[in-house]
Symmetry: C2
Subunit: 447 residues, 2 copies
Amino acid sequence: MQKSLKIAVVGSGLVGTLLAIYLKRAGHTVHVFDRSPDIRKIQFSGRSINLVMSNRGWKTLKDIGLDEEIKKIGIPVDKRAIHTGDKLNYQYYGKDGEAIFSLSRGLLNRKMIDLAEAEGVEFFFDHKVWDVTLSDASLHIGETERGEWEELKYDKVFGADGAFSRVRHRMQRQSMFNYSQEFLKIGYKELNIPANADGTHKLDKNSLHIWPRGEFMLMALANPDGSFTCTLFMPHEGDNSFENLKDKETLVAFFANHFPDTKEVIPNLVEDFFKNPTSYLVTMKCFPWTFEDKVALIGDACHAIVPFYGHGMNAGFEDITILSEIMQKHGDDWETIFKEYEESRKPNADAIAELSYRNFMEMSSKTADEKFLLQKKIEKHFSEKYPDKWMPLYSRVTFSSHPYSEALAMGDFQDGIMKQVLEMDDIENIWDSKEVEERIISLLNHK
Amino acid sequence: MQKSLKIAVVGSGLVGTLLAIYLKRAGHTVHVFDRSPDIRKIQFSGRSINLVMSNRGWKTLKDIGLDEEIKKIGIPVDKRAIHTGDKLNYQYYGKDGEAIFSLSRGLLNRKMIDLAEAEGVEFFFDHKVWDVTLSDASLHIGETERGEWEELKYDKVFGADGAFSRVRHRMQRQSMFNYSQEFLKIGYKELNIPANADGTHKLDKNSLHIWPRGEFMLMALANPDGSFTCTLFMPHEGDNSFENLKDKETLVAFFANHFPDTKEVIPNLVEDFFKNPTSYLVTMKCFPWTFEDKVALIGDACHAIVPFYGHGMNAGFEDITILSEIMQKHGDDWETIFKEYEESRKPNADAIAELSYRNFMEMSSKTADEKFLLQKKIEKHFSEKYPDKWMPLYSRVTFSSHPYSEALAMGDFQDGIMKQVLEMDDIENIWDSKEVEERIISLLNHK
């Protein structure tokens, strides 16, 4: 057991709140600060950005017995439903019974704060942290950035305050702090598929629906209330871009042209499109993540990624699992805990950033590509027959706890093999033959 | 002629001051703000970080007739003097008469501010700019960051406030602003070789002296007062590192071991080493560089690079040349001026960042490598015979005004050729033969 400390967590999002529960269970006094009001007291529509929880996230919840509680508000999603032209193809994510879970961010966050309060974590909403003194772990809190501030001293501060973290902002001014933020040329906007009158879903609720169109795509994930949250991803500028969808006529014609089958299911297209903001996508990397034994960053605050693998929350939750394991190893030696935590997590954060970035191409283009679908079919066939020889990349990332960095490296290795396999004569017809299997095995042995 | 505007330049360094002169000459009212006192009124020792001016920098000065004035305080440097073991090798930079110029930053900056004031530029020293309102080009100035601020409105603001630019800091909080800062594992510390009693230099003053030792190196550049400014570049941590040179004994033994020939010429080694700070090296990249027609970044504020090519100031001055050419083309259309400026300069800033980063390896390791010296010899021989066919990379960067991005690409192309040439049988003996020449020409034609 560690010596009981007074710890501040900045940010009451999913990672901050779950970290607070872990720290409380470890015997510490935990105060969570958030610049926003209590999310449980704000009206929000049933809709909200959707998240997917996969094995890594579940593990972190399960280790402290919270998984069953959360599973109740999630919808299992076991496949992609690919809408191309008038065809609808299904692509299963993993083996039978393997699924990711669609969750509403708002519902999940409310639930987690309830659970944290029940554990004895104290929350301070509407408290804006403007600055941090790193060397003595104190927070500077006030109404406005230029107004009066109050200083609150802690033993440790965790920055779980997201991609635009104020805690990181202070660390960023230290020498030897590496930092990058890179925006995608692609932005996104939310749309909505409402429930049927009887509360059922208009599309299969256990699928992640994708309308892949190359440079842009539409996506939909089910909500428990029968609706779907849709996300349109497309370039900010250029031919098919948000900039070019300026008026009602252009928008309606664009959807009729590219997404004809959505006409029936997205009734409020025009209203939602022009009401909802166009949002930005950024990859943020930095290092170090900690300052002496005083301050540590966690989740999006130190590794914000684009959403195309659905792993932002999962990676943040896995930070907590790893940190917690290291805490158990090193007791009160927080300097070692923080060093080992950042060194162990950094390569994996970089790997999931890369995988997420690449996955836009996979979702928006490759899912509509015959060759790619054939590759997936071969991989699935081979991995089902030889599960010890081949775990597909998606499964390794999503249904396993193997480090992300290992998944990235293995994925590249497997891709090299599949490239050669796809060049075999008549591969379209012999894809499930003994010959192909033997070829894969021989290439695997030449690692 | 452009419509006369009220323009603020933040930063009275070399780029800010020279930009101010250009803007004044273009008919504008120019105010330069600096958080520091007037450098002309501060005591500074004859020593200071040394700069090298090469063709790009000279061109910017020459275009407004300031080159002759500045040349008076510079020392031409036409070669590297490589100190390995007990050998001293000279490596000429270019053709006969081609040289870079060693200049003291302090002397140069004082001189430039004098020149700017003579033109009618107004300077506001000890004025700390803490923030900028981008949309109306106004500066927020005050004694302290948390104290009272005064707001000053301009038509345009230029951020020439260096690698830690406050102007950029504000832009960085905009969506779609890409940014990265990456620190080298290598730091540096200044040392000094004093003048002889009669004011002459202890080493050849027309050489850039290098003691290449692989992971670390010592460098020396002459000052007009007979002294040399030395810079020790080495890793912050590890085997041969600043961290490990903790006490007098270790330091003296380290220098005796690695730089025995400096014992005579660096008398105050111990005192200087422990008195002078260990400094950091950072590469900073960002984009965009401008905000609407209101604000633009220039020099280190938008492209801070490591010093190994001696091009930080030269690249900043070239920004001014290019901006000025574009101003002449587009009159009062500042939005177009700013767009074209950033789009034209960004690839070149990235290229000199890459070249500078690579040049540490060249200076610290390759200058002591026989194969590399042979390559340089072949290139020199061939380029002297066929000047229209081959301009060595260093010459293209330093003695030409070809875009940096072109220099980087051509350098890589030439390197590929030289790699093949160096593999020719008996190349050590046939390096200046007809056969080698023909081989190079044939490889050039297969571009």
